[in-house]
């Protein structure tokens, strides 16, 4: 009994920093609790070994999500050694605003779609709504939620998480594992581009419906080895209207300027010929017309090699400029040590 308490406490303290972040987590449909099998030999203060446990849906432990901690206070629990606690299934649509922007009915519908989508393609699709990311950046918040809540299927933790902060107006997509490959930066921009209007006007249900539908298209395309929608950089759709125009105009103007200046300089050549028609009196530079023919007598002609000098210039390789990019995705490492892709912005 005492051992169980000690282990619980250890876990709580280890992840204590997450408490304020997840303090607003709403009650879930099912109680989620820390799941682990007790180690008889663990001492007070030691961390315990975690085992996956059957969450009851299909009678096997495979692919069952594990929550690392659920409640914000340690609880003494009458759990016998080895007893398996019931565990809740991880949600795919988490609304930390408690229904302020999204009705429960809508959330449930989205949850169903997201769950099905995740199962169909073997990748966790997660939608997370909160007020603001607090002390963290939206990126860190999204990454950490994904990592520490245990999302991500397979050993590569494949998944994509969409974070929407209603008050700070941030959005962030965090990808992991195979998600980084399927949803590259351009695809993310494309998807968010389709959601922008709804997000701006806080129409969350339509926005996330779009999200799930487009995500499904991308995953299907990936499964069928087709080009993923929005991934191609030349695709007109995914380019933001404004940023697309700016480089174009700068190129055109500088191109015209160069052409004009170049034309002016080249024009000086025929102009100097025309000028000479009118100004043609000048001293002659040499006496070339008066050399005695064949009188050049070269008595000494020596070409002496002195020394050689070799210099080198490093060639810029494009692929090193975007550190750790994969197929158009820029990646970073989150606090848990996992590599995540994706990016965010404000709407």
């Amino acid at each position: 009994m005492k051992k169980v308490f000690a282990l619980l406490l250890t876990f709580v303290l280890t992840f204590a920093f997450l408490i304020p972040v997840f303090a607003e987590q709403t009650e879930t449909e099912e109680e989620t609790m820390v799941l682990f099998a007790a180690d008889e030999n663990a001492e007070e203060g030691e961390t315990a070994v975690l085992f996956a446990a059957d969450d009851g849906d299909d009678g096997s432990e495979e692919d069952d999500s594990v929550v690392l901690f659920a409640e914000d206070e340690a609880k003494e629990s009458d759990v016998a050694d080895g007893e398996i606690l019931t565990v809740g299934v991880l949600q795919h649509v988490i609304d930390l605003t408690n229904g302020e922007y999204l009705s429960e009915a809508d959330r449930a519908k989205l949850e169903q779609d997201a769950q099905r989508l995740s199962d169909d393609f073997g990748m966790d699709i997660v939608i997370l709504i909160n007020y603001d990311p607090g002390a963290k950046t939206a990126e860190a918040y999204a990454d950490d939620y994904f990592d520490y809540m245990g999302y991500g299927k397979n050993s590569t933790k494949d998944g994509i998480l969409f974070l929407r902060c209603m008050e700070s107006r941030d959005w962030h997509i965090s990808t992991c594992g195979h998600g980084i490959d399927v949803f590259n930066d351009n695809t993310i921009d494309y998807i968010v581009g389709e959601m922008t209007d709804d997000l701006r006007n806080d129409r969350l249900y339509p926005a996330f419906s779009t999200f799930l539908s487009l995500t499904r298209d991308c995953l299907r395309a990936d499964a069928e080895n087709q080009p993923i929608p929005g991934a191609d950089t030349d695709n007109q759709q995914i380019q933001d209207e404004d940023s697309g125009k700016k480089p174009n105009i700068a190129f055109r103007v500088s191109g015209i300027l160069i052409a004009i200046v170049g034309g002016f300089l080249i024009a000086l050549i025929p102009m100097s010929k025309l000028k000479r028609e009118v100004y043609n009196v000048s001293f002659r530079s040499g006496a070339a017309d008066y050399t005695k023919p064949n009188s050049l007598n070269l008595r000494t002609k020596q070409d002496i090699f002195l020394y050689t000098n070799t210099s080198r210039v490093r060639i810029e390789h494009n692929d090193t400029s975007r550190s750790g990019s994969r197929g158009g995705s820029s990646t970073h490492v989150s606090s848990s040590g996992m590599t995540h892709g994706g990016h965010g912005g404000k709407i």
Binding site: F251, G255, I256, I258, A259, I260, G262, G263, F264, I266, A267, L268, P270, M271, L274, K275, E277, V278, Y279, N280, V281, S282, F283, R284, S285, G286, A287, A288, D289, Y290, T291, K292, S295, L296, N297, L298, R299, T300, K301, Q302, D303, I304, F305, L306, Y307, T308, N309, T310, S311, R312, V313, R314, I315
Partner: protein
Amino acid sequence: MAATIEYKCPCCGGNVEYNASMGQMQCPFCDTIFDVAALMEKDEALNNVQPDQMEWQTPEQGFDPNSMDGMNVFTCKSCGGELMTDANTAATQCPFCGNPIVLSGRLSGALKPDYVIPFKVTKQQAKDQLKQFMSKKKLLPKSFASDSHLDEIKGVYVPFWLFEADADAHINYMATRTRTWSDRDFRYTETQHYRLIREGSVGFANVPVDGSKLMPDDMMESIEPFNFSEARPFQTAYLSGYLADKYDVDKETSKGRANERIKQTTQSVFAGTTGGYATVTPESTTVNLRNTNVHYALYPVWLLTTTYEGKKYQFAMNGQTGKFVGNMPMDKKAYWKWQLLYTAMFGAGAWVLLFLLGKLLGS
């Protein structure tokens, strides 16, 4: 000894002139042709070495010779008219009767030219050339051809010093050759440095330097080259009908210009032997002249003066080759019009090129 030489036609008594298009002496009155050589004996007097003689003929009015420094008065044998010439005139025409007069005093002894290239281009040809020169010049004001009038056209034998020398040169150069290649990580540039030594000689002959202060030197150089193969040993007969001046810039002063030109060409001839390098820079140059020789010659030049809008414009034409030079006013508007036109043309071309290049690199 007669101060002036005049050539009288034995047939009609008129004054014989050198005919440029025929290359012989011709009487303009009866058209009889004479060989120049036949009139050589008239020149024999010139061969006597005489101190510089300026025969003065002072008019009766108590003319003060000192007030006209350098100006001399001569009497025309044909009409008796008095003509005033400056100190350098060696051949001229009587302003009254048009009779060609050669002032032998200016052409004898040390002043006797060694060679003369006789006129090949006639006065009419010179006039025609001027007209042609003024036409079809894009930057010339349109009214120049019509509003300018020819003030004066004269055929002058201009005195030249002809320099001959063998130039010995010793020139050292620094030269480089480069080679580039690249592998996956670097672009390499290899530069090999060489010293080139060239030593030898080049021969020059008949490098002309203007010996007349009055004649603008740049204009005289602009109508070059003169072809010395058509030069003749000097005879005053050639001067008849034309103007001629003796030199007033001596050969010592002219040497500087000749050396400059000889050195310049020697350097470029030697530079021509340094092929096969990416860059060649002369490090040290030494040019010495030996076997130097200077001759005095009269070369034919047509001088034309026109006035346009109150300004005088001078033209010169090589009396042997017909090369025509002269500075004319430039129509500024026409200049900018053409500059803009060419800029637009080349600019459009450059833009198309850049556009195509961009497409090529972007694809």
